[in-house]
């Protein structure tokens, strides 16, 4: 029986010719990731295992990105645990504030993940690297500790849902609109325990930034991982960012999928997920009059250079609405510099937006843009759960950068085409 792309990567890392859905396997790992929230717990658990060294100093990444630059004393203490552990164990990929970026934008940019890799990260959005044709999935701190010690993790081999993309996205439509559309279609547990495999000619029409955004939100459908076929764009990206050898895996032609969906991406409209679940999607046309207090453009989902260019295209020569705070957060230092050199910051600042140093910050209600009771935000982030960006009675509406920027100008949810 044929294997899916994910199953083939897992078989390769378990030293097996074949694996079947449901089988428990022990997989070797090419990268183990943690951040300032999850790694301190992992480091405590690592100490309990009683091993002196990590399995490979080059295959662990520690990225203090959530509450950084340190927002308070307790957060500073947490980051200190990472820094001291990294020094003590000689971990190469520790990224201090100044080099740090949001982990899931940073690792591909640094060339630390390539096609065919198996990656775990103590952060649910670790599934982002599926955009590169890698198997990557979020785990907890204890799995991270065991991964740092042994270089291995156990997995139940997942079934997969196949998404065949066709057509080309329209103007103002990006990866975010497509993935929100899909989550709206299958629900927040529609892919529970499964892989989401994205194939078809429509994939070639999507930029790498679109694909990172889509793979990133596979977890919001409950998926174990999201993964894209590897094409010329993937290989070009990898050659530009990494010197590592990589393996291109393809699903067998007779691979079995639990479901198959054909999606014509040319028909997808600007989409918004209403509170308090990413599955509560509507087209912006159906949104009605939703007045907002804040816009956040950033995060591991949409803080990449293309997202900022789109936001700038919308904000150029316009002003952020009087009653709206618009906060723009480039995801990494490289993206920040690129945006600065391209003149995007002039556009943002002239429009009345604030530009922040890289941080996950407001996405998870950490800092740098917390909502008060009753306030509403449009955000290019990935979750709109109760209290996600602040007060339990605040609201988050998820969109792509085009709708977010247009909404910042209008003071209500809208598309760029509907601005005067």
């Amino acid at each position: 029986m044929g294997m899916t792309m994910t199953q083939k990567i897992l078989a390769g890392h378990a030293g097996k010719k074949e694996v079947k859905a449901g089988e428990l396997i022990m997989s070797s790992l090419d990268m183990v990731l943690g951040n300032d929230i999850t790694a301190p717990v992992a480091i405590r658990e690592f100490a309990r295992i009683g091993m002196d060294e990590v399995f490979d100093k080059a295959k662990i990444a520690l990225v203090p990105d959530h509450f950084t630059p340190n927002k308070d004393i307790k957060s500073a203490e947490q980051v200190k645990i990472l820094r001291e552990f990294a020094r003590e164990k000689g971990i190469i990929n520790y990224f201090e504030v100044g080099q740090m970026g949001i982990e899931h934008a940073l690792l591909p940019e640094k060339g630390l993940v390539v096609p065919g890799d198996a990656v775990i990260g103590a952060d649910s959005h670790t599934c982002t690297y599926g955009a590169l044709g890698a198997f990557s999935t979020g785990v907890g701190s204890t799995d991270m500790a065991a991964g740092m010690a042994t270089g291995k993790a156990w997995f139940k081999v997942p079934e997969a849902i196949k998404f065949v993309l066709k057509g080309k996205p329209g103007k103002w439509i990006g990866g975010k609109d497509i993935i929100l559309h899909i989550i709206g279609m299958i629900g927040v547990d529609g892919a529970l325990y499964k892989s989401m495999e994205f194939v078809g000619e429509g994939v070639h029409a999507l930029s790498m930034d679109d694909r990172f955004c889509m793979a990133n939100m596979a977890i919001e459908a409950g998926a174990k991982n999201g993964i894209f076929i590897v094409d010329e764009k993937t290989e070009q990206y990898v050659h530009e960012h990494s010197d590592r050898d990589y393996v291109v895996y393809e699903a067998d032609s007779d691979a079995v999928y639990s479901e198959e969906h054909v999606i014509d991406i040319s028909k997808i409209e600007p989409t918004v997920a209403f509170p308090h679940l990413p599955e509560n999607t509507r087209t912006v046309g159906e949104a009605g009059e939703v007045k907002i207090d804040q816009v956040v453009i950033g995060s591991c989902t949409n803080g990449r250079i293309e997202d900022l260019r789109i936001a700038a295209e919308v904000l150029k020569g316009r002003k952020v609405y009087t009653d709206v705070r618009c906060i723009i957060i480039p995801a990494t230092q490289k993206i920040w510099k690129q945006a600065m050199n391209e003149g995007l910051f002039d556009i943002f600042i002239d429009a009345g937006a604030a530009v922040s140093t890289p941080t996950c910050g407001p996405c998870l209600g950490g800092h740098m843009g917390i909502l008060a009771k009753g306030e509403r935000a449009v955000a290019t982030t990935n979750r709109n759960f109760v209290g996600r960006m602040g007060h339990p009675e605040s609201e988050v509406y998820l969109t792509g950068p085009a709708v977010a920027a247009a909404s910042a100008v209008a003071g209500r949810i809208t598309t760029p085409d509907d601005l005067d």
């Binding site: 509450f67 547990d189 209290g387």
Partner: protein
């Protein structure tokens, strides 16, 4: 191994942001986290869990969806919850609960029928869930042996240490 307790009932898609809001994640101290567990949807959770000593959480589908924060099962365990019964669990939460030794059980029928304050008994060896208030019994899926051993070892790290000491 068995767990018994009074049921606290919740709906579908209980996410890790409501189990433990990120604003409290600047610490990983279990007792600190327990103070704020579930507070955004149930302000009295901590006091209810403390009052009944043994409490079982019962919820619908996709329990623990969202962030990978292990602080979520840690907060629940430190609140004194003896078991979570849900129709389904989100996968990272499922792994994390087992890895820290918090017993959980998937059983859609039990999750649907059990009401707030019912007395519940869960037998992890057989997978049988008994509602002592109504007398109804349900067949959950028992964990395979190695997962039961992980839970009995208070989590994955205890299990790895036990395995290592056996080899010596």
């Amino acid at each position: 191994m068995k767990a018994t307790g009074k049921a606290l009932k919740y709906g579908n898609n209980v996410d890790t942001d409501v189990i433990i809001p990120a604003r409290y994640l600047n610490t990983s101290d279990p007792s600190e986290l327990a103070k704020h567990c579930m507070e955004d949807i149930d302000k009295d959770f901590a006091s209810k869990a403390a009052k009944n000593k043994n409490t079982v959480m019962v919820a619908g589908s996709n329990f623990g969806c969202g962030s990978s924060r292990e602080h979520a099962p840690i907060a629940i365990k430190a609140s004194g919850i003896s078991c979570i019964i849900a129709a389904t669990f989100a996968r990272i939460f499922y792994r994390n609960a087992i890895n820290i030794g918090l017993p959980i059980m998937e059983c859609p029928d039990a999750a649907r029928d059990i009401k707030e304050n019912d007395e519940v008994e869960v037998d992890f060896d057989t997978g049988v869930i008994s509602n002592l208030t109504t007398g109804n019994k349900y067949d959950g899926v028992p964990f395979p042996g190695f997962m039961q051993e992980i839970i009995a070892s208070e989590g994955l790290i205890g299990f790895i240490r036990k395995q290592a000491s056996k080899r010596l």
